[in-house]
């Protein structure tokens, strides 16, 4: 591993209880992820890869164990602290893009910045830079429905990086895209890792997509495969 770990996971477990039935989604996971790394989490459906990603991103909580991101134990933050932490430290990219349909590409990307103290001019500069980085400077006033799937996902990536987070998490970001658009999106994520030094963690079950990452880890039935 080239750099110091930005994410340190220790003996992490997640158990879902449904009445008397207990389902172990993650079983005693220990994992380090280096800063600037492009890590892909692979595994079949139900293997726990999305659950692990959600815990790292601070949108889910483990049953036990520790998850330190930039030395902050996200499992110990309360809801409000977590929201604040996510806004500053994590960028999300989802499979179904999840752009707000009534907002333009520019406004969608600007959304996380509304929670910061930046003025309108600074916000504009940041949004324009983020959209330029993903190659959509000329589409910023388009509504999501006026964009292709690949373009929508690139807007989502711009939204993920507009707050300049260290960590970008992507949950099957190419799952709804054709091969060509998927490649464009993966190249952008790769660029963010290689050129901008962002740590990218991507869930995928596609080996071709995983090939864009610098390292892959496999999960099976909630366990990390060595």
């Amino acid at each position: 591993m080239a750099a110091a770990p930005i994410v340190r996971i220790r003996e992490l477990s997640k158990i879902y209880s449904q009445g008397d039935i207990q389902v172990t989604a993650l079983d005693n996971i220990t994992l380090d992820i280096a800063a600037g790394e492009f890590l892909t989490l692979m595994g079949p459906s139900g293997s726990g890869k999305s659950t692990l990603l959600h815990i790292i991103a601070g949108i889910d909580r483990p049953t036990r164990g520790q998850c330190l991101v930039q030395d902050v134990d996200v499992t110990r933050l309360n809801e409000s602290e977590l929201a604040d932490w996510r806004n500053h430290n994590v960028g999300f990219v989802f499979q179904t893009f999840n752009l707000i349909p009534v907002l333009t590409a520019f406004e969608n990307v600007e959304l996380p910045l509304l929670l910061t103290r930046l003025g309108a001019r600074d916000r504009r500069q940041r949004v324009e830079a983020a959209l330029a980085l993903v190659g959509l400077a000329d589409r910023m006033h388009h509504l999501p429905k006026q964009l292709s799937g690949g373009q929508e996902q690139r807007v989502a990536i711009a939204r993920a990086l507009v707050t300049d987070p260290q960590l970008i998490v992507a949950d099957e970001p190419t799952g709804n895209l054709d091969a060509h658009s998927a490649q464009d999106v993966l190249k952008v994520l790769q660029l963010l890792s290689r050129e901008a030094g962002k740590t990218v963690i991507m869930v995928t079950h596609d080996p071709k997509a995983a090939a864009f990452g610098s390292r892959s880890v496999h999960l099976e039935k909630g366990e990390l495969m060595k």
């Binding site: 929201a83 996510r86 499979q95 009534v102 520019f106 600007e110």
Partner: protein, 382 residues
Amino acid sequence: MTLSTFILKNALRNKRRATLSVLSVAVSLFLLVTLQVALRELMNPINDEGSSLRIIARNKVSLAQPLPARQLAVIERIPGVAAVSPFTFFGGLYKGDEKFTSFAQFAVDPARCLPLISDAKIPRDQLEAWLADRTSCVLGRMTADRYGLKVGDRMQFTGQLYPCDLEFKIAGIYEGTADDRNLMFHHSYLDESLGNPGTVGTWWVRAASIEEAPLVTARINAAFANSSAEVRAESERAFVLGFVSMWANIKTLITGISVVVVFALLLVTVSTMSMAIRERFRELAILKALGFRRRELFAFILAESFGLAVAGAVIGAGGAWLLFANLDIQKLTNGLFLLFEVTPRMLGLAFGVAALLGVVAALAPMWSVARASVVQGLRTLD
């Protein structure tokens, strides 16, 4: 973009639903304000100095039961009585072709009733003409204008309560009273037409002072206690309210309808807001993931709900205020209502109801958003 812009865009994302929601609030609040105005006009008769002095004495058994004319001599000797006149509601149909005559005709003793209508302005020559001609009448300005009548014209009435038809010559037109709609004519003309029955409908009494009015009322009641024709004397205001109460418990009825309107409105608004938020549940989860806290999401929901309700109030209550201020309500209601005024209190009530609706309608969506985690929200989308 600001947070306000974001809220506005969200609220208007489904324009048809937003419009229908605003209109449902508007129509309901328009109805609420209209009912409140109607209730106020019915329950709060005009209460000027003249009406505070006036006392109406009717048969204790029922308003429909006449009183003996001989009571006049007793009443006018009661201390504190400044004037007294018979006051009988004729209730005829004007021209005989109307189904409902909106102005009242009262048989009075013209000479005796002048102190009772001291606020009426009528030219002296017209007054003298009325006093001199037994078949003449004086007519309120509002009714004269409504029917295009002038001094010297004749008016025919078909009796509904009394078995006689009457024809009057308009001797004068008065104005300046709280209700310039009525027609007043000689009681002797009615007596003659009915074969001199020696009865009157009610007595119209003027007390010497406002302080004495309650005493006079009590004295009149006492004067005829245990007689063959006991009377019930009461202030003009109490009499009018008693008259209104004969329409059944109108206040309870209108209040009941108002409550139903508000409740139905609440169901509609809660349902609309719940639908709007349920559709956006995934987006709210995304907002949470992006760093929006619960309180910010609550504020979005509350602002949207509140905004829709208040927009409805502006259109509904504001529309009622504008409409009733510019409408000839007397003509529209065939004279049932003289005034139809939307008071600041009613506007306050409408906006208060709207604000409450906005808050209550937001509670359920806020609760579901608060309970759901980001992951639960994301699961609804994937």
